[in-house]
């Protein structure tokens, strides 16, 4: 099912949560809505579900205008952030609920068979008789997914699906959700504030800020070409150096980098820790190492420039560097944004 949002607006009391968002989602696509808290991502997801009504704009499911269709008739599967499993029903009863209340009548055997299929799909065979309180967080998450899938939804919507889980559990579930998605091919939208999660999982990442889309594209597109300082910073650690642009090149300390398309004048140079390196000789920005942090796969160096700017970068594990050492920070690559 193809989904289209046209200039969707949502206001809570006086707060404009979503300020005109247009978005096309292709059938079978797995899309992440990524943004900091308050960016409107959950509100957009809930509007697609019909759990909030848009104040303006329209939402299309295929060619059908779904803007005003109530949630119970919209045919979406929604996985709630805290799962919203019915605590008084067993896992199997939770999964069967949607089929039991459906206008399409199914006999008990058909429902039982479908529940068994879904339990197998989410790898919870044998746990059907447990209550939600008796299973782990990761298992609850999977029950919530099975319940959402039980009604054969046109779209699967997940609100911070892994937000409440431990780091290692989320890692496994991420891979597993990706597998389920390729198996079922259902159009899926999920909301997250975790960049890594969005980039690992989604076909396309939509980045939101203050109720508006600031960047969208494949993980490769948004990472390689963030197009704004906000996206650059939001996607990961970044060093910021004040720079001066002259004739399409930005100059910061002893460094110079391509800045075509940026007007002359003050600008900021952004570089990821991996984009910087350390050298004993010029050219580069003269700096003094203040600390070295050892990590499993690299050494993180904290250095202070002569003008007092703090820089962080990674060097290879074998590299001998120590605090107090002077030298030059060099640049492999960087992005320049006008101030």
């Amino acid at each position: 099912m193809k989904i289209r949002l046209e200039n969707v607006v949502k206001t809570f009391d006086t707060f404009r949560a979503v300020k005109g968002v247009s978005l096309d989602i292709e059938s079978g696509e797995l899309v992440a809505l990524l943004g900091p808290s308050g960016s409107g991502k959950t509100t957009i997801l809930r509007m697609v579900a019909g759990l909030e009504y848009a104040d303006g704009g329209a939402i299309y499911f295929g060619d059908q205008d779904a803007t005003d269709i109530p949630v119970r008739d919209r045919g979406v599967g929604f996985v709630f952030q805290h799962y919203a499993l019915f605590p008084h029903m067993t896992v199997a009863q939770n999964i069967a609920f949607g089929m039991k209340v459906s206008k399409v009548k199914r006999d008990k055997a058909a429902i039982d068979a479908r529940v068994a299929d879904l339990l197998r799909l989410v790898r919870l065979d044998g746990l059907g008789d447990r209550f939600p309180a008796q299973i782990s967080g990761g298992q609850r998450q999977r029950v919530a997914l099975a319940r959402a899938l039980s009604v054969d939804p046109k779209v699967l919507l997940l609100d911070e699906p892994f937000g409440a889980l431990d780091a290692n559990v989320r890692h496994d579930l991420r891979r597993w959700l990706r597998e389920i998605h390729s198996e079922l091919g259902i159009t899926t939208i999920f909301v997250t504030h975790d960049q890594e999660e969005a980039l690992d999982l989604a076909d396309r990442v939509v980045i939101l800020k203050d109720g508006q889309i600031v960047r969208q594209g494949t993980p490769q597109q948004v990472c390689r070409d963030p197009q704004s300082a906000f996206v650059m910073k939001f996607l990961g650690d970044a060093n910021v150096l004040s720079a001066e642009v002259r004739d399409g090149r930005a100059h910061a300390g002893g460094l110079s980098v391509d800045a075509s398309g940026i007007p002359d004048g003050k600008a900021e140079l952004y570089a990821r820790p991996a984009d910087l390196d350390w050298s004993a000789q010029a050219p580069g920005i003269a700096a003094t190492i203040s600390r070295v942090l050892d990590r499993p796969d690299s050494r993180r160096v904290l250095a202070v420039t002569e003008t007092g700017e703090q820089l962080e970068f990674d060097v290879e594990p074998e590299r001998q560097v120590s605090a107090g050492e002077g030298g030059f920070v060099t640049l492999r690559r960087g992005k320049v944004f006008a101030v």
């Binding site: 206001t11 759990l51 909030e52 009504y53 848009a54 104040d55 109530p70």
Partner: protein
């Protein structure tokens, strides 16, 4: 702007609610206010400030104050003992606290009268010390104590149970004595709940009727509470006077309601994120 609700049932549930509240709660109270207002300011003032009415306010308010102060200490101690100590019979005591809520006021009234009458279990002993309870303001106070006790215990108890032990431990680690910790740490945290409980208890005492009339003696100017005066005016078919005096009690109730709500919102102010 489109404003619609996602969950169903608002028109039905809100409709039922407003109809019921309107019919059962608002309409009669409005009728009472209209009736009292129809008197005109001079007549109204004459009735509500008559010496018998004033005497009834005095005995009602003073007894309610006395009962509330007693219950402040008794109720707080009771809540403390139930939540902080483990001893045989604790759960029974905890359950018994609700008896004044569950026991009909008329039943409580005759039981207290039987106990405190001069030939009763307690009354005969107290008589020996020259203390008369039944048919005196003291009796009114005791009846009020009985009926309003659970309010204080039941508002303080949950707060006391949920009190983070780390706060006390922090105070202990800083060298505070038990008394200092109680007055400087625990009591301030309990204060909003305690005040809310006190105002509920006081409001209940002002309006209490059933438990009091048996023990009070009901002598005009000395042991006649306001609620009873209203009742007497009704029996004399003086409906306007009944309405006027009832409106005074109603106003007192609304005032206490406002105070309670204000105290409860203060109680929650710690949880408001700045």
């Amino acid at each position: 702007m489109r404003r619609r609700n996602v969950l169903p049932g608002l028109p039905l549930s809100l409709g039922v609610t407003l109809f019921y509240v309107g019919l059962i709660v608002v309409l009669p109270l409005a009728a009472l206010v209209i009736k009292a207002a129809s008197l005109g300011p001079e007549d109204y003032w004459r009735i509500v400030s008559s010496s018998r009415a004033l005497a009834s306010y005095r005995v009602t308010v003073l007894s309610a104050l006395g009962a509330t102060v007693f219950n402040l200490f008794f109720g707080l101690s009771l809540a403390w003992v139930i939540t902080r100590y483990r001893f045989p019979g604790r759960r029974i005591i905890d359950a018994m606290v609700d008896l004044p809520f569950a026991l009909p006021t008329a039943v409580a009234g005759i039981a207290l009268t039987a106990l405190f009458a001069n030939n009763g279990w307690f009354g005969s002993v107290l008589e020996g010390y020259g203390i008369k309870v039944a048919y005196t303001p003291l009796g009114i106070m005791i009846a009020m104590c009985f009926t309003s006790l659970p309010f204080i215990v039941r508002t303080v108890q949950p707060v006391l149970e949920d009190l983070d032990p780390a706060l006390e431990e922090a105070a202990q680690s800083l060298g505070g004595s038990d008394w200092t910790i109680f007055t400087k740490v625990i009591l301030p945290l309990l204060a909003p709940a305690l005040l809310a409980g006190l105002s509920l208890s006081f409001a209940r005492s002002l309006g209490e009727f059933g438990a009091i009339i048996f023990i009070a003696g009901n002598q005009p100017m000395s042991t006649e509470i306001t609620a009873l005066l209203i009742f007497i005016r009704l029996e004399e078919y003086d409906y306007q006077a009944a309405a006027a005096i009832a409106s005074v009690l109603l106003l007192a109730a609304f005032t206490m309601l406002a105070v309670t709500n204000w105290l409860q919102s203060r109680a929650l102010r710690y949880t408001v994120k700045g």
